[in-house]
């Protein structure tokens, strides 16, 4: 790898705006079309063998980042760099090769695998499309190896079955095998277990962990589940309305957050213990529209720590402790309050 160092994927100052269609009346008046600020100046990198998590509520731009990393949609500005090369400058042929190196696992295994294809056909399709093999024997061998890697053992039992014969967890593992068979450097996983039952989630997660361990494949995982991030993810970035508001080692971010939004997310997650403290609502209202995001800090209308400056100046993502980046004017104050067991600045209590 050239200048990329040990980074598999780098996202640099990526911004993605979507146009909002104007109504007929608006276009007659000549008013300008609104833009959805799906992703706004996001920078991060995924290292070799790392599991990087992107967490946030719906509408925070997590999935748009994944789509852009696959060049399914081009960024409005900024760049996606794979192994030191900017994807936007790649030729079509080069991009096609890149796409085998970055593979994706979707959220819903009931929709992402074709019900009319056998497991072999599903997993082998990419091999034939990308001309990685021409012989069927070789393909069978490669598919069997991939099925083995995702614990569908013995593979011969699964090759000629159809998806409806498999459980949700097994289907999701077929989707992972489909990604693995092409020998990727990075797997993009979009909420890989949110559609699965609790008792079989772990089997899919453990397969992903084993793949990382054995093959040093990096994983960029999008999820809304902070508890899961703590158990799965190495490096975590919390997103809010298209921006990263906090990032750092997953366990630290979840258990000792700096940003009031991270704290609000963590405090809203129920724990399986009726004796534990009850969940709390620590953000006012709901996530606002990202067509005209709030000025200053985008979280300020919902934040318990907000002061005048928050509605005026946008806080920058800065390092507040080794490896910990936060975009908040009052990060230190907030962090200290949380450490003392307070949810807001002194005197302010729970919303609602």
């Amino acid at each position: 790898m050239s200048e990329g160092g040990d980074n598999v994927l780098e996202i640099k100052h990526m911004t993605k705006l979507f146009n909002v269609r104007r109504t007929f009346a608006e276009s007659m008046r000549g008013s300008s079309a609104g833009k959805v600020h799906a992703v706004d100046d996001v920078t991060f990198s995924v290292k070799k063998g790392q599991i990087f998590g992107l967490a946030g509520e719906s509408g925070s731009g997590k999935t748009t980042i994944l789509r852009t990393a696959l060049m399914l949609t081009r960024p409005t500005s900024g760049s996606v760099i794979y192994a030191g090369k900017d994807l936007a400058l790649m030729k079509r042929g080069e991009l096609k090769k890149y796409r085998t190196k970055i593979q994706v696992v979707f959220q819903d295994p009931y929709e992402s695998v074709n019900p009319r294809m056998t497991i072999f056909d599903i997993v082998a399709e990419g091999l034939f499309v990308n001309r990685l093999t021409r012989s069927r024997e070789e393909a069978v061998e490669m598919v069997a190896k991939a099925l083995n890697d995702v614990q569908l053992i013995p593979p011969e039992d699964y090759l000629y079955r159809y998806p409806h014969e498999l459980s949700g967890g097994q289907r999701q593992r077929v989707a992972i095998a489909r990604a693995l068979v092409l020998g990727p450097d990075l797997i993009l996983a979009d909420e890989p277990v949110s559609m699965l039952d609790v008792s079989i989630r772990a089997e899919v997660l453990n397969v992903l962990l084993a793949v990382r361990e054995k093959k040093k494949i990096s994983i960029l995982m999008v999820t809304h589940d902070l508890a899961l991030c703590k158990d799965m993810v190495d490096e975590l970035a919390i997103m809010y309305l298209g921006q990263i508001v906090e990032s750092g080692p997953a366990q630290e971010v979840v258990s000792a957050p700096y940003h009031p939004y991270t704290h609000a997310l963590a405090a809203a997650i129920p724990v399986p213990d009726p004796e534990a403290p009850k969940i709390k609502v620590l953000a006012r209202g709901e996530i606002p529209t990202n067509i005209t995001p709030p000025p200053g800090c985008r979280f300020h209308p919902r934040c318990l720590f907000a002061q005048a400056i928050c509605s005026e100046t946008q806080p920058l993502l800065e390092e507040v402790a080794p490896g910990r980046l936060v975009a908040c004017h009052f990060a230190k104050e907030a962090h200290e309050s949380f450490a003392k067991g307070l949810d807001g600045p002194a005197g302010k209590l729970e919303v609602q």
Binding site: S199, I200, A202, P272, P274, E275, K280
Partner: protein, 318 residues
Amino acid sequence: MYYSTAAGDVKAVDGLTFQMEQREVLGIVGESGCGKSSLAITLLKLLPTNAKILEGKVMLDGTDLVPMSDAEVRRKVRWTKIAMVPQGAMNALNPVFRVGDQIAESMTVHGAASKSEARTKTDELLRLVGVDPSRGRHYPHEFSGGMKQRAMIAMSLALSPEILIADEPTTALDVIVQAGIVKLLLSIKDEFGTSILLISHDLALVAQMSDRTAIMYGGKFVEFGSSKDVYGSPLHPYTLGLVGAFADIRKPRRALVAIPGAPPNLIDPPQGCRFNPRCQYAKAICREKEPELLEATKGHSVACHFWQEIQTQGGARQ
């Protein structure tokens, strides 16, 4: 309650017995296909045509709902005594009518209020669930997911039911919004004394809300007791497995353990204990004899042949 299908009868709800008390949240935890939603629609007798109640009673204030005719249930029970916040409530609103009109309709249709009374009551209900009453004039697409869910809760409360059945009330909502809905449901229980039957796959959500919890597997209760007992000292291997597979935000990083296998096919459930093919404690008897739900300690029942062994081991584990 069984569903007839071409492949045979699906034994969706099989031999359940429980009572609900006033001002109580009873939580039912189970995975998809374990029969929890079937239980909900059985209680309301909202059964599809291929479903049949083979035996059993649904007693409400001393009357059995099972022999009642559909019209009678509609007049006497649904909405007035037992209301339901359905699964995917966000899509339960009719997109072409104003939200406020839909809430008012639930009252006028049941003849509980005149049009103008219903309108006033709607405003009150919306305020109660934390939605600005002026939003009643808006259409569902103008509401966010959390607000639609609040509107559905307002509608379910329109005729002051004694029991609210909440089937996965927060699925597909963001966590902070979910926390708001949880607070709302609990405040309704405290204020009106409404009992809530909470149905969810989310172990933690049920722990937060319920006074008592039933763990359901393959159409049956496998463990039932006060939430404190069920979560504090689980006795059934399935409950233990669920706890081990669940990501808990308070705990330090750990490996999650899956329960091997998949939930049973209820057309042809396994012989003996329905959990035995996935159970690490299973012995010969588990494949032959189905364990009954028996009281292990006061108010805490479990359906397992080996709960005592598990209790001693589980004690050591914790």
